[in-house]
């Protein structure tokens, strides 16, 4: 256990952004809420209900308040998710590349840590440790943000917009926790591919990650006028968020939300439930592909000696 903790800690020493970035985003969310929360809502903000514009605050029934609260709690995850996905992309590309670039691989390999353990620890950090850490930070952030917001709105006519609801808060956190684990499985092949590129490319890992898929898409488009590669990548990269109901443009949904849509949403958090994805065979095919690519990354790290 101490051994694995050491391997994981080492990743956070080298890639400080992995833990600094989520804390910075959390701090920003809380500070921005404290500074500007509520101010941007004009007093005559209106919402469309069945084609009729009505006063926003008056439209908030207890039932709608619950859903609004759910959307707020879940929405607080979005900035964290965006930052962590970008961070993990660069982390995975760097993970097996920087040690070759600075030749420190000769130091790591002088210790009794096998290549498979090294690669496994890096995949574990990207797929489980960081996402669960971000989940925990986000949960705490939402408590703080909602506290600040409630305080801010107290006594104003906007107070009804944020009504604390323990049940919904817990349900959203539970859905997000489960979603984090499902996402680890769904995105495992992406992590595997990035680690393989990181182990294999002599230089320019970023270009090796980005150019081949783009080139394939263009080639396919010119040669066959089809988009199979593009839609495959879109499915593999965006499929999880589609399942979460946060598909292409979450903004549109929130802005154009009508009463009918409110009704259709049902329980907010039931849309966040991604566990049905576990029944999708594509997820498991992806996991199998991930295992193959991680194995290949181990073999490449083990055999190459160009340092």
């Amino acid at each position: 256990m101490k051994y694995w903790i050491t391997l994981v800690r080492r990743e956070f020493w080298e890639h400080r952004a992995l833990w600094v970035a989520p804390l910075v985003v959390a701090a920003l969310l809380i500070v921005l809420t404290a500074v500007s929360g509520g101010v941007h809502l004009a007093a005559d903000a209106r919402i469309e209900v069945d084609g009729q514009a009505i006063d926003f605050v008056k439209a908030i029934t207890p039932e709608r308040a619950e859903k609004l609260f759910g959307v707020l709690v879940a929405g607080l995850y979005v900035p964290q998710l965006i930052v962590v996905l970008v961070g993990l992309f660069f982390y995975l590309l760097d993970a097996l590349y920087s040690e070759r670039k600075d030749r420190s691989i000769l130091f790591w390999k002088s210790l009794p840590v096998s290549d498979s353990h090294t690669v496994a620890a890096k995949a574990l950090v990207a797929l489980v440790v960081v996402p669960l850490g971000v989940w925990a930070v986000s949960a705490v952030t939402s408590l703080a943000t909602i506290g600040v917001l409630t305080n801010k709105l107290a006594g104003t006519s906007f107070a009804p917009i944020v009504q604390w609801n323990t049940g919904i808060w817990l349900a959203v956190q539970a859905a997000m926790f489960a979603g984090t684990l499902v996402a680890a499985l769904w995105y495992a092949p992406v992590a595997g591919a990035l680690l393989l590129i990181s182990a294999w490319a002599r230089r320019n890992v970023f270009l090796w990650a980005v150019l081949p898929p783009v080139a394939l898409m263009l080639l396919e488009k010119t040669a066959f006028d089809s988009n199979r590669v593009a839609s495959f990548l879109e499915y593999r990269l965006g499929g999880f968020f589609d399942a979460m109901g946060m598909g292409v443009s979450p903004g549109e949904r929130a802005v154009g939300m009508t009463d009918r849509e409110f009704a259709r949403i049902g329980e907010v958090y039931s849309r966040l439930d991604t566990t049905p994805l576990l029944g999708n065979v594509d997820l498991w095919l992806g996991v199998a592909a991930a295992v193959l690519m991680l194995w290949a990354a181990v073999q490449v790290r083990r055999r190459r000696d160009d340092t």
Binding site: R10, S98, L106, S110
Partner: protein, 287 residues
């Protein structure tokens, strides 16, 4: 008790058409300090990489009874190596280096490393990038000395260090580390500096072992004669391995001649390792 630490039979390795190792046969027993000496590109680094399990190879190789390439992680419990001064990552803090090795190495004694570091100017909160080259080597040495290993492999460990650091490095190695259970293999270009601490030398050239001998036997096998140009032709008839002219005097290295035989032509002494190295690598060619 002496045990076999390394045993190689027909150890070969090629990079494309270029053969780096060409059927090496050698053995290293415990309690020895072996100098692996060869010119650049001779295959000595490749041989070390094979021993450390860093590269696949052909032929037979056992290190402490293990197959290094297949069992590198198991082997590294008993083997330490310093590749050269540049390999500790720049972002690593001294305290993190101690934490890491302590976390993954069952034979690491943190107190030993800390005691060694206490004698240096290295602060535990420093990052490797803030340390001088000499200090990085001290840090690496502190980590290595605190590991109870059976085989230590050093590849140019003092490259780029000044004389004081180089001397201190080898002193620590001998005083704090070496005992007769342990084995050290070292390569370096500064042959003169390690000459006195070696028990064995192995010369390697073009991927082949050209000399493999305990140091104490070298004086019996090889002699250096310093003579004058007028007496040189007669001495040359005895078949020197190599000769060279320095300041009007001629130095010749002989194998298998007695000192009495040679004394007729001039001054006789044991060749230094560097003279012997040049003689062996350049063969009969005069320079």
């Amino acid at each position: 008790m002496t045990t076999r630490v390394i045993e190689a039979h027909g150890l070969s390795k090629s990079y494309g058409a270029h053969g780096a190792l060409d059927g090496l046969d050698f053995r290293v027993d415990s309690g020895r300090i072996v100098g692996l000496i060869g010119p650049n590109g001779s295959g000595k680094t490749t041989a070390l990489k094979a021993i450390l399990g860093l590269t696949p190879y052909e032929g037979e190789l056992r290190v402490l009874g293990l197959d290094p390439f297949k069992q590198r992680d198991a082997l590294m419990r008993d083997v330490c190596f310093i590749a050269d001064v540049a390999v500790l990552p720049k972002w690593l803090r001294v305290a993190q280096a101690l934490d890491y090795v302590e976390g993954v190495h069952p034979r690491f004694r943190r107190e030993t490393a800390e005691a060694f570091l206490g004698k240096t100017d290295i602060r535990v909160q420093s990052r490797v990038r803030e340390l001088s080259k000499g200090m990085v080597t001290q840090l690496h040495l502190a980590l290595i000395l605190a590991i109870d290993a059976r085989l230590l492999v050093l590849d140019e460990p003092t490259l780029g260090l000044d004389l004081l650091f180089r001397r201190a490095f080898y002193d620590s190695l001998l005083n704090d580390y070496f005992d007769h259970e342990r084995t050290i293999i070292v390569t370096t270009h500064q042959v003169e500096e390690i000459e006195n601490l070696l028990t064995d030398v192995m010369f390697i050239n073009h991927g082949k072992v050209v000399l493999d001998s305990p140091v104490e036997n070298i004086g019996e096998r090889f002699l250096q004669l310093v003579t004058t140009p007028d007496r040189a032709p007669a001495a040359r008839a005895l078949g020197p391995l190599h000769e060279r002219e320095v300041f009007g005097r001629i130095g010749m290295v002989f194998e298998g001649r007695s000192a009495d035989e040679l004394r007729a032509f001039g001054e006789v002494r044991a060749p230094s390792l560097s003279d012997l190295f040049i003689a062996r690598i350049q063969g009969g060619k005069s320079s």
